[in-house]
């Protein structure tokens, strides 16, 4: 790996000052499972690596009446080991438990998955489906941005050089809601998504109609994609195969994948349709309190 300096930031003020002072040449280190790999293979360089794991706001994982707050340096393993999350936020566990293997999950963070901005990122569609908000700190203060507005291109986010992601928050899910994340890979584990999809649904109290839905997907565009039209198409519709299929076709149409070693355009579009149907059905089952 190329030479760089290393510093542990103790608080947000120190971190944003270091970022400002080193405009563009400093990198934030959380889990390192992306950063250290891309620095080693030469795709990224840094003069200074700022270890953010001692900043209290970044390591906080809390669950209260308002919802869930995931500090940007909270690891995937901390997510799936937290049994309290499974009830209200099962799709976050879906994502956190299939990013890499156990070793990667012990280091990799949900915040890092977002900031790395891979088109195939396995946490981002779930965050978007849940309507998660990114809290971003700069020298002037904090701003809040919906997660779907963060990724701009492969590896590029809307954060400026002097900004740091502090936490991701998700409002407490309303009654009769549920969410599910699914990824297609040709292996059982440890692979990059050919396609991934997350769906969140809110149903009426009888579980017969959709009140609202949000669908997001990955590996089908330069960034993870929020397919607002697909979710909106379900609002007010009965929960049945027809309405779910119609939403899946909108998602399929919105996908603009490429053909590469992992799959062809046609294969990926087909997968979008299949995974949208499956995640919607599973989200409905979870909304009704059924196992899925």
């Amino acid at each position: 790996m190329h030479e760089f300096d290393y510093v542990v930031a103790e608080n947000l003020t120190e971190a944003t000052k270091l970022l400002s002072d080193h405009k563009g040449s400093a990198r934030i280190l959380a889990g390192g499972t992306d950063l250290l790999v891309i620095m080693r293979n030469g795709r990224r360089q840094a003069k200074l690596v700022i270890d953010a794991k001692k900043i209290p706001e970044l390591t906080d994982l809390s669950l209260n009446d308002e919802g869930l707050s995931i500090g940007a340096a909270v690891t995937c393993r901390q997510i799936w080991e937290n049994t309290e999350l499974a009830g209200d936020y099962p799709a976050i566990i879906d994502s956190a438990s299939l990013i890499g293997g156990i070793q990667v999950q012990g280091r990799a963070t949900i915040g890092g998955n977002l900031c790395n901005a891979a088109p195939s990122a396995d946490a981002i569609p779930t965050l978007i489906a849940y309507g998660a908000i990114a809290h971003i700190q700069n020298s002037d203060g904090q701003r809040q941005v919906p997660v779907e507005e963060i990724c701009q291109a492969p590896g590029q986010t809307s954060l400026s050089e002097d900004e740091i992601l502090v936490k991701l928050t998700i409002a407490k899910p309303v009654a009769h809601s549920g969410a599910k994340f699914l990824r297609f890979i040709p292996r059982n584990e440890m692979d990059i998504a050919v396609v991934n999809v997350a769906s969140m649904v809110e149903l009426d109290s009888e579980g017969k109609s959709f009140l609202k839905a949000r669908i997001a997907m990955g590996s089908v565009a330069p960034t993870p994609l929020f397919v607002k039209a697909a979710g909106d198409s379900l609002a007010g519709k009965e929960v049945n195969d027809e309405s779910i299929k119609a939403a899946a076709l909108i998602a399929r149409e919105a996908a603009t994948p490429i053909t590469d070693m992992r799959g062809t355009i046609e294969h990926r579009k087909q997968l979008v349709e299949v995974l949208t149907v499956r995640t919607l059905n599973a989200a409905v089952a979870r909304a009704k309190g059924e196992q899925s």
Binding site: M1, H2, E3, F4, D5, Y6, L29, G31, G32, T33, L36, V37, R40, N41, V49, D51, K53, T75, R77, G100, G101, I102, Q103, V104, G106, R107, N188, E189, M190
Partner: protein
């Protein structure tokens, strides 16, 4: 050369300190500075698990951790697995079941398997395969490795009775 850092840490229960550059991974420090060559370099990018160690009890790939991050941490490596020359039940079971061929992946599989059994003493086959997905064996000895883990789990359960 960027400034070298003085890092104080605990390795396999013993206090240890070393000097390292920020760019050196924990794996490089273990192997090249501390001469603990049990952890292996396979892919060097977090895919193969041959460099698996515990940092504060959490299983990680040491190639994806910086040596400087070890400051104040407890590191456990394969060198600490046998105690006073007595092999761990997992090590014995890997020998009995021939859970290795070339042996490069073995330290990583043993560290992962030990972490699994500490969390889940009686895992079923699916749970073992899921937990060990981050460890690759290019000699394709997975079935024997799974059997070795099951055998060790059974033996360790028997010891506790």
């Amino acid at each position: 050369m960027s400034k070298r850092h003085h890092v104080t840490t605990t390795i396999n229960g013993e206090e240890s300190d070393f000097l390292c550059e920020p760019r050196q991974s924990l794996l490089e420090v273990l192997r090249d500075v501390l001469k603990l060559t049990g952890a292996k370099e396979g892919c060097n990018d977090g895919n193969c698990g041959a460099c698996s160690v515990l940092v504060d009890g959490v299983l990680v790939d040491s190639c994806c951790v910086l040596g400087v991050e070890a400051e104040g941490k407890q590191i456990d490596t394969i060198e600490g697995m046998a105690v006073n020359g007595e092999l761990h039940p997992l090590q014995k079971a890997f020998l009995e079941e021939t859970g290795m061929q070339c042996g490069i992946c073995t330290p990583g599989f043993l560290m992962s398997s030990k972490a699994l059994l500490e969390k889940n003493p009686q895992p079923d086959e699916a749970e073992i395969r899921h937990w060990l997905a981050g460890n690759l064996c290019r000699c394709t000895g997975y079935d024997k490795i799974i059997r070795a883990v099951q055998r060790a789990a059974n033996e360790m359960a028997g010891e506790k009775v």
